[in-house]
Symmetry: C2
Subunit: 110 residues, 2 copies
DNA sequence: TAGCGTTATACCCCAGCAAATATAGCGCTT
DNA sequence: AAGCGCTATATTTGCTGGGGTATAACGCTA
């Protein structure tokens, strides 16, 4: 009978830019793996879906979130920009606070 | 360029019971209208979808959320139980607090 | 007994998303 | 020049959810 409050949130602006849990996870994996391809595989996501998420973000952001290149050593790859890392930091900060908030709300649910 | 934090949340338990914005809105309309049918129409939702939402809730809840009847005056109808009204109250309370919380988080987003 | 407006349910069709496959282009290395 | 692994994109196929429609049962009223 234990009731619980769960939540989702996302940071967005007026230009259609939107970033939530899935995109943050993907960005973190791209930092770890160095490419969209490997990052997608590591979390069981298709390259196409990962590309759509990343591309959509880049197209709606005033500054690029990732820098992509094809060809060269290892075939190329993708790196997360400073702007991208800034979003990750902000998202994680809000998430931490939100977890506390909803944990308290859950407790008050009798 | 104004960034904003948006959110969704839902109350749930271990038996698969789940109630979020859509179901709350539907319950409120059922109280107003007296039937699933009219409630669904009033928010542009198909009866089928509304029925699935309501039925799923009732099947996973320990106590019924709504009491349904067919036949009789006006063809029958659906009323929201005290348990259902209790959930509405709880949901709105959490929502009010969450709106404050995320409003503050949005402000701190520089 | 006929009519009414519900709840409840089955059926078909279409849209939209997801996975799988294929192909091209890139730039470095060997 | 060939090979490599990546980005980028098109095409096809399959699955799932939702809308629309249709139908039956229900119990009160007239």
């Amino acid at each position: 009978m234990s009731k619980q409050v769960s939540f989702r949130f996302w940071i967005h602006d007026d230009n259609g830019f939107m970033i939530g849990e899935g995109r943050i996870l993907l960005l973190q994996k791209i930092i770890e793996e160095g490419s969209i391809n490997k990052a997608a595989k590591s979390i069981g996501m298709s390259y196409k879906k990962a590309w759509r998420l990343i591309n959509g973000m880049n197209e709606t952001s005033s500054e690029p979130i990732v820098a992509r290149s094809s060809g060269g050593v290892g075939g190329g790859g993708t790196i997360v920009t400073e702007k991208g890392k800034e979003y990750i930091e902000q998202y994680l900060e809000v998430k931490k606070n939100a977890q506390h908030f909803f944990s308290d709300e859950t407790k008050q649910l009798q």
